[in-house]
Symmetry: C2
Subunit: 348 residues, 2 copies
Amino acid sequence: MESRSIRLAVIPGDGIGTEVVAEGLKVLEAVGQKVESTTYDLGAKRYHATGETLPDAVLDELRGYDAILLGAVGDPSVPPGVLERDLLLRLRFELDHYVNLRPVKLFPGVATPLGEARPEDIDMVVVREGTEGPYTGAGGVMRRGTPQEIATQESFNTAFGVERVIRYAFDKARSRPRKKLTLVHKTNVLTYAGDLWSRTLQRVAADYPDVTTDYCHVDAASMFFVNQPERFDVIVTDNLFGDILTDIGAAIAGGIGLAASGNVNPDRTAPSMFEPVHGSAPDIAGQGKADPTATILSVAMLLDHLGLTEAAAKVEQAVADDLLERGGNWTARSTREIGDDITARVAG
Amino acid sequence: MESRSIRLAVIPGDGIGTEVVAEGLKVLEAVGQKVESTTYDLGAKRYHATGETLPDAVLDELRGYDAILLGAVGDPSVPPGVLERDLLLRLRFELDHYVNLRPVKLFPGVATPLGEARPEDIDMVVVREGTEGPYTGAGGVMRRGTPQEIATQESFNTAFGVERVIRYAFDKARSRPRKKLTLVHKTNVLTYAGDLWSRTLQRVAADYPDVTTDYCHVDAASMFFVNQPERFDVIVTDNLFGDILTDIGAAIAGGIGLAASGNVNPDRTAPSMFEPVHGSAPDIAGQGKADPTATILSVAMLLDHLGLTEAAAKVEQAVADDLLERGGNWTARSTREIGDDITARVAG
Ligand SMILES: CC(C)[C@H](C(=O)O)[C@@H](O)C(=O)O
Ligand SMILES: CC(C)[C@H](C(=O)O)[C@@H](O)C(=O)O
């Protein structure tokens, strides 16, 4: 599809979302790929104006695009969780983004809080399940506000949902030099779900004799991210554990300003959605302080997903070069300056 | 109770559990406190010999002690989760250990993977709920082993259970110089449970005007443990989030060999149980390689819980001195050597 243009839906969202998305689009254009983009004003503003988070008609329209680029959603003026659940999570569920793909990679030149870690120690990919687990919203409350209140949350795990994400993770592991896949769960406590995940991993492993597998409880894995990150190559895990692990991953790989992600529908029955792992950061919104690098790396993932691997590599290389120079020779740059610097490398 | 002796139940358990508990007891005796201890052979051996994990009669007997010291349970020869659930978690539940108290403290001289962190940056206490949340074992499976399998896990949260642990955490925060309490949850996704936790925190806060409170999502908190640990003083959180956070805590504070914990029943309707956060580590069991420091610090917590604050402080100081010397002047020591060194300081 090198020649035809990408039909892209853009959801800048709230806070710094709009700022970082602008830089992502700049880089995307510089890569020489034709793009027809349409911007959707979903987020806090629309919610306040119309009460809508994600109207069905908009969702239907979004299905027609090749991909979606999202900035960030969430604003203190909206009741907590409304935009996260009714917009962000709803998009992930409705568009069947069953793989939430989150590379954790320390680029050369980037400062990490881990004193001794080198780039070769931190180079993994977390394949986080994106459509089930404790994220479905199931649960309830009884006698709310009384001393007898009971609140429940339910985690749903299906053979269908677990197997497809595990197969994806095996394919991903096979494509990497180390060919190692680690399942992260809490099988000793969450026994029903853990049993399904473990059995499925073992069964699918028979189809991938070239991939080494192991297992790690989520508490130990969280510790190993900090003191033995080199232990991991590809990780497959449930929605909630993946949420936690990838934030630790962002921390060790230089911060949330660099962490990219793809909400991927590998079956391509709907567009995939790419977004930085960070949130809308209302505290620094509008100040030109946000780092657009995570969004730009998400654009590279988007290109890769669309089969534009050369363009993807070009963007990632431009980011790597920029980070290397930054590391040696740091001066604080604005959101736009970082975007401009990376754009120049991509174009030049 | 300075004068009368402590009636102590000891459960060395499996793997390195027996090795580290021996050192813990040595230190306890050196502190000059009379102890009458009874050892219980719960763990893998008993399970294989009799099929029992925690017989009701033993549980009843355990209720009669002042406190319990536990090493670690779990062995590869036992089906995964059996000892964890039917012994360890059952003790926590039956003895109503609703506070799982886990200090995260970087002692001077101890190496941390965080390059820039100083002891004053890492000094917090995690108050982990110990009797409900996703740990109750609730859930089920349907059509197991078929492509239509569904496995569920349920998290139970009660006003009763949430309020009592939050009150404990407020008291703990009040007793510390910073007087800051952070609730960690995932209110934007686990909305029913999150709502109960948030509302309860807000309500109880009215009784503690001198304590500052804030809130942090578990993913962000996990990241901040790595790149802004100084942000935290006292944390209160649910059973599963606490499990994960305290392993990250162990990593940043110098490793799992130093992390102590207390399973506390603050109402004293049953004995509290003190144990290192680490597991039975079958890979290094029997080799004298395990670090008993976590167990010794757990003994200090035990003494403190029994009101023997001077003795507790003495043990903690002995550990601190030992760690400081180790930091400057490291030679590998065996489990017993470390125990002996700390014992000598306590006795001297
Ligand atoms: C905003 C929130 C619902 C979301 C999640 O929990 O998935 C975010 O933390 C993420 O990781 O993308
Ligand atoms: C062994 C396991 C059941 C236990 C837990 O999850 O609580 C352990 O990880 C801990 O933190 O004490």
